[in-house]
Symmetry: C2
Subunit: 503 residues, 2 copies
């Protein structure tokens, strides 16, 4: 078999969207299901989600939140109670109208038992949770109420893409209630920080924290904050959001409490969420033309040991590999026991090795009779492709540092990529040049994050979106530069915002 140049075809430069699909397929992470818009998350993808869940769940609990579970279904009338919210979600939701199937007289089944009121499969749970909270919250003593839910939600998206946009997806949604506006805002920002910390320190995906403009706000929110990451094709990915809902849902669902001074007041609520979309972001931040690259702190497994089996001497090689596996698994990294795959499958060495490369495992350790003689392993590091013979004892001793080195390298690589492709832009012409592709097959020669002053209206924002397919991703929270002139309107602008093409 002729050696392939890259394991994934097409490469990123050739066709980034198709490369993305092929990486997922090659790593065996997920696939489209026979049900329109829904995906099947396969074990290698689901274990990544389990690791994401575990770390975030610990962070939520450490910040005082408890998990609970609310119904999948939302009565239609609940959605109607918050005007902007229903406008945002009614156009794409799964509606349950019947509660059984009966003989249709043609050998098949038809829906029967029509419901008095249709139920919507939750696209998000502010309304049903708001209704429940209105009973739980009576006095200032009941506040703050800090609850999170891990759940599936459904939004009837017409154009879906694995992990990034699917009709059903998995997520967590935090829903909190507070006695004051200040406290609710503090919560909103605190959870944004939790997300940003997770993205950088666990996913090795640098993010910009910022606020959305009015047009991009969550339907029903007063302020929506987000973390935005840059993918390898320079497009932005919104990776998490945290919403300050003011008293909108408290008024829609009558969440009132008696204050310390004895008055009845409407409460202040927040909501915040991240989803399986994070997996899409992780893939597009680190992977290369040989497939998935995983940050070791979240990788389902850390090391694949591949015994080179030739018949003679196999027993010794296998015994050595088993011992190595046990020694590695006695170590921990980032709060988890190190996980090792001992791959004894009867496959050619190259096929086996490429399989693990495509799955993004941080290290592949090959062990043949010659390595055994020297008590060493032949190590391949996924992110850099470096190969070297290393003494087995040394490998075991240094495994934690080696994994952290990969983690650090991925983060600094992603940071460098973002910095290289972020530019301060002060004229319309520059802006236009920045976002106009010279060649539609070469997405890498244009785009990125444009830091621009902005003083336009929502309509002007829409026009830019239409003309350039570019949107304001966020108004960064860490702006240090201050005011300037908006190149589109010539008006004074309080700070630069981030413009980008986006997923």
């Amino acid at each position: 078999m002729a050696k392939q140049k890259t394991a994934i075809s097409p490469t990123r430069v050739e066709d980034y969207p198709e490369w993305y699909q092929q990486v997922i397929k090659a790593a065996d992470m997920a696939e489209n299901s026979p049900v329109r818009g829904c995906m099947v998350i396969k074990p290698w993808g689901y274990e990544l989600w389990e690791n994401i869940q575990r770390v975030l769940d610990d962070a939520f609990k450490a910040t005082g939140h408890h998990n609970a579970y609310f119904p999948l279904f939302i009565p239609k009338s609940y959605l109607e109670r918050e005007a902007k919210h229903v406008e945002g979600f009614a156009k794409e939701c799964a509606v349950v109208t019947h509660h059984r199937l009966e003989d249709d007289g043609k050998g098949g089944l038809k829906p029967a038992g029509e419901l008095e009121e249709p139920l919507v499969v939750r696209p998000t749970s502010e309304t049903i949770i708001g209704e429940v909270y209105s009973k739980w919250v009576q006095s200032y003593r009941d506040l703050p109420l800090l609850i999170n839910q891990w759940a599936n939600v459904v939004r009837w998206e017409m154009r879906t893409r694995l992990f990034l946009r699917t009709a059903e997806f998995l997520w967590q949604e935090g829903h909190t209630v507070h006695a004051s506006s200040e406290e609710a805002m503090e919560e909103t920002r605190k959870m944004l920080d939790v997300y940003a910390d997770f993205a950088e320190n666990w996913m090795a995906m640098p993010v910009i924290k910022g606020e959305k403009t009015e047009g991009e706000r969550f339907p029903g929110a007063n302020h929506t904050y987000c973390i935005e990451a840059m993918m390898q094709d320079r497009k932005a990915l919104q990776a998490g959001t945290s919403h300050f809902l003011g008293q909108n849902f408290a008024k829609g669902f009558n969440i009132q409490f008696q204050s310390e001074s004895g008055d009845r007041e409407y409460a202040w609520t927040t909501s915040w969420g991240v989803s399986t979309r994070l997996i899409g972001g992780l893939i597009m931040t680190h992977s290369d033309d040989d497939g998935l690259v995983l940050p070791p702190r979240l990788a389902p497994s850390h090391i694949a040991i591949l015994p080179v089996l030739r018949g003679e001497g196999d027993a010794e090689v296998l015994a050595f590999c088993e011992k190595l596996k046990a020694e590695l698994e006695s170590k921990a990294f980032a709060g988890r026991v190190i996980r090792v795959e001992l791959d004894k499958r009867d496959l050619r060495g190259g096929e086996k090795r490429w399989g693990w490369v495509k799955k993004g495992i941080p290290f592949i350790a090959e062990v043949g009779p010659k390595d055994l003689a020297k008590e060493s392993v032949f190590l391949q590091r996924r992110d850099t492709g470096e190969k070297a013979a290393v003494k087995a004892t040394e490998f075991v001793e240094t495994i934690g540092e080696r994994l952290q080195e990969i983690q650090d390298n991925l983060l600094s690589r992603a940071k460098a990529h973002r910095e290289e492709n972020t530019r301060k832009i002060d004229t319309k012409e520059e802006f236009e040049a920045f976002f106009t592709a010279k060649n539609k097959n070469k997405p890498e020669i244009h785009g990125g994050f444009a830091l621009c002053h902005w003083a336009g209206t929502a309509e002007e924002e829409d026009r830019i979106a239409k003309d350039y397919k570019v949107t304001i991703r966020c108004i960064p929270l860490d702006d240090t530069e201050g005011p300037g002139t908006c190149p589109f309107t010539g008006k004074e602008s309080p700070q630069r915002v981030v413009f980008a093409k986006a997923y």
Copy 2:
């Protein structure tokens, strides 16, 4: 306030079903939601579920299973492909028929965008997973396929009861594929053992492992195995099931593989599940007239420390309590760090204490100035009600043993209860007397598990169900007695079966 005799009213003897609802309410575990048949699982109930999940998930992984996630929706036509399966589930399922809501011209919304094919919200996932597996399974090398899913499912039950029977519930469903009948049967039985072990060693709930009769089988299964537990009112609760599906779903969904000898063969499949119903079983196995009693190995929290605050000397008491908390939390029990609630709320001592009693926390430790002087705590043990002053250092040193003692006591208490209320029955008259209540307000004076020989038909089984509201819970797997005479038919019976009233 006059001291109540018991914290829960009514008591178990007075009204067992209502007592059950009141225990859940008093422990703040769950409540009925505004959506028909769906419950809200509150933090104290959900944490119990998280602990159940963690232990079972570890057991599934230790037996070679991986988690994955499949779609919430099942096309109607898939259900139709296995005849018995559709018959079992079509009568009570949520049917999605539309994918948006639009203005109804009367200021409200109506379903719009009718789907070409209605979708059913999964009541269980054999069909959708069968369809997916038919693509994954090609060769004997792909087998066994060992996958589990944690998910929500919906069955449109008309009469619901918190945890025991709800329209939406949370569960896990294992779905495996094997090359041979023997291997599939081995898997079916292995997972039943995992469930039985979990019930006994973690929930402290003894169970009988057995097989269901034909009438009680899972729709589409060749054999259904179950674990059955006895509740305090002597009724049986089916706590988990494991199904040998033969080749029924393999044929319905064309799951075929090429065998080692090169033939195309239909595969053999299994499925197995437990749900949030386990929480109902746990409550009804251990709780008493003062509320919830929790097995320590699954308790959300182990110890409540209640500082007795009087103004003077409070700082010292609180410092002592904080130190005690930290020391206890440095210990582990049953694979988890010990969790302690330091309850500083401004409530009267009695109110606070009763709150924790009702929540079933294994230990309450009160600390006042006098205890402080002796460096002791005033300890109350939930299962026995024992109270004693104990040196704080001794309490910390022995906490693991003390928790295990409660765990053991709960199991032996439950076993004794089951043994006291299990009887070998050899005549129809005895059977009738055993199951006829002398007084409908005194359910404790009748019932239990009747071990009877049985050689009747499915119709005769139905008649007994109608006449006595008693069913065959299972044909025990561990029968040692062998054949005898069926008191209903006079025919030879291979072994005794378990008859009981059931949830």
